[in-house]
Chain length 151, copies 2
Amino acid sequence: MISNKAKYALRALLAVAAQPGGEALTSTEIARRHKIPHKFLEQILLDLKKSGILESRRGKSGGYVMLRPADTISFGEVLRIFDGPLAPLPCLSRNAYRRCEDCESEARCEIRREFARSYEASRQVLDSRTIADALRESQNPPIAAPERRAG
Amino acid sequence: MISNKAKYALRALLAVAAQPGGEALTSTEIARRHKIPHKFLEQILLDLKKSGILESRRGKSGGYVMLRPADTISFGEVLRIFDGPLAPLPCLSRNAYRRCEDCESEARCEIRREFARSYEASRQVLDSRTIADALRESQNPPIAAPERRAG
DNA sequence: CTAATCCCTATAAAACAGATAGAGATAATG
DNA sequence: CATTATCTCTATCTGTTTTATAGGGATTAG
């Protein structure tokens, strides 16, 4: 399960990116719309700013706008910021690689091998789909998509 | 990241399933071989027993054996026992479905839609690959497999 | 009877999740 | 210049989860 923090961050990003004419959106407004605790959201927006994804303007009529275009921000990138590595095992992470202390041989580890497959599959999706993709499909819902309710 | 508990459980299962002639394997031996804290492992093996995956014999020369055949036990099943639902969002889980309290419409939720894709991809792997698959490949490593070190 | 094993429950330290709080910095507006 | 709305920063708090550790009880082989 992803954390609330990551979910809130994605909600906020979708809201800011959907803002017509690139107008600024305030934390108060985002919190109200999406029922996110305001002070908690502020921390999250700050993190998004520190990560170079959002830009902010202070003072009256301030708010947040996208710093990078929405089609360069993948779901995977946001998840990594808030929930850490996507990899199911430390020894499978590129960015945050750590050896399993008790592992004899990574090449021969059955667990590593199996999780590598599953990881590759989900990573491929998360790192390719962007905030812009999500918004586009939202406005233009795919017709008769075979909605497969996954378990 | 998966929990240590789940990782230990998978290690233990692979060890018991690999036991020649279906001989019993003791918790002490598994703990020694894989450097797992013994008392912690005992709890895990007990959970595996309660889940109907392992069988145990008590007393001297006791130990654990498979109750169900290794080719019926998927990685996904084991993960669910120890780490809970595989789904990245409660509203995507079949077994442990929960509505997101603040969600207006699941059908129109962009976040749900995107995570459904990623989830489907990884679930497909985790629920299809079994303990037996992992052991088989381990003994018979695929020749010149394009080892793609995922990040 | 003894020793080795599994079985069960309680406890605890550390990390993490999910906030809450309050004060400071900045900018627009009148 | 005072006011007000905003972002910024840091500290704190509470409950849950993780990762064990501990101690004994039950069972069985020999």
